[in-house]
Amino acid sequence: MSDPATPLNGAHYAGYVTIAEAAPRGMITLRGDLGDKGFAKVVKAVTGLALPGQREFAAKGDFAVAWMSPDELLVLCTYDRANAVVADLTAQLGDLHSLAVNVSDARALIEITGDDAREVLAKLAPVDLSPGAFGPGQIRRSRLAQVPAAFWMTDTGFQLVCFRSVADYVFEALSTVAQPGSRVGALV
């Protein structure tokens, strides 16, 4: 199958941090009772990852699982396998009341990398991004300028998901505040 058209066509901006669209990723919204043992088993079986705790983000191999709400997870996998993973989850969950849907195309995935990635994000999101307050292994859903977004940390900075239709807006907003000469230097 042909390469999927990503929301930003691989857009890239090098300011005093780098803003770039990430490679396409499979994304699955999985809803169910996170307190249910059977549910956790299935997640483990399919992703190889234990159920994340509140606002945790766990990654291993091709998979990552993020805690979105008390009854929702975001499962990340390779883009091409998303439908298969949905089918797998649905089958294994069986009668357990749950919902698994492929949302890979409904989202944009953007990377913010560089030493000052934290403060660039902190110009648009009302979140304490100082190292003491936010770090690897966590996910935060919040507001980015005027739209909802969720982000977590990588070795080089952040990955951020937002809705596909506002990908341009988010990319432009991040690029605007990442322009050279805009460094604050207060979140080290």
Partner: protein
């Protein structure tokens, strides 16, 4: 610019992460109710200058609805709790009584 703590995801976020949903613990009246009951359900509000129980949604967050007990005269937030409750938790009511002796709000006080 309020700070509220979402009881579901544990985030203490600023107001712009949330959406205010008006008075909490309204009993819905449907078909079969009297005009007075139905009007009261839709429109009559406590709107007190003081302790107020209200609904909020963590719209730029986990998306969950929750309840907050807040003073409309000082904006002090006494506490938040899940929306799946028909009345404020006892411990919260006790805490409010300690701070606002003699507070009244519908049948809970």
């Amino acid at each position: 610019m309020l700070i509220l703590r979402c009881p579901y995801c544990g985030v203490s976020g600023e107001e712009t992460e949330f959406h205010a949903g008006g008075e909490a613990h309204l009993k819905r009246f449907g078909p079969g109710s009297s005009d007075a009951e139905f009007e009261a359900y839709l429109f009559q509000r406590e709107n007190p200058k003081g302790v107020h129980f209200e609904r909020w949604r963590h719209v730029n967050g986990c998306g969950k609805w929750f309840h907050a007990a807040r003073c409309t005269a000082t904006l002090e937030v006494f506490g938040t709790y899940p929306a799946q409750s028909t009345e404020p938790p006892a411990d919260l009511r006790k805490a409010i009584s300690a701070k606002r002796p003699g507070w009244k709000w519908r049948e809970f006080s």
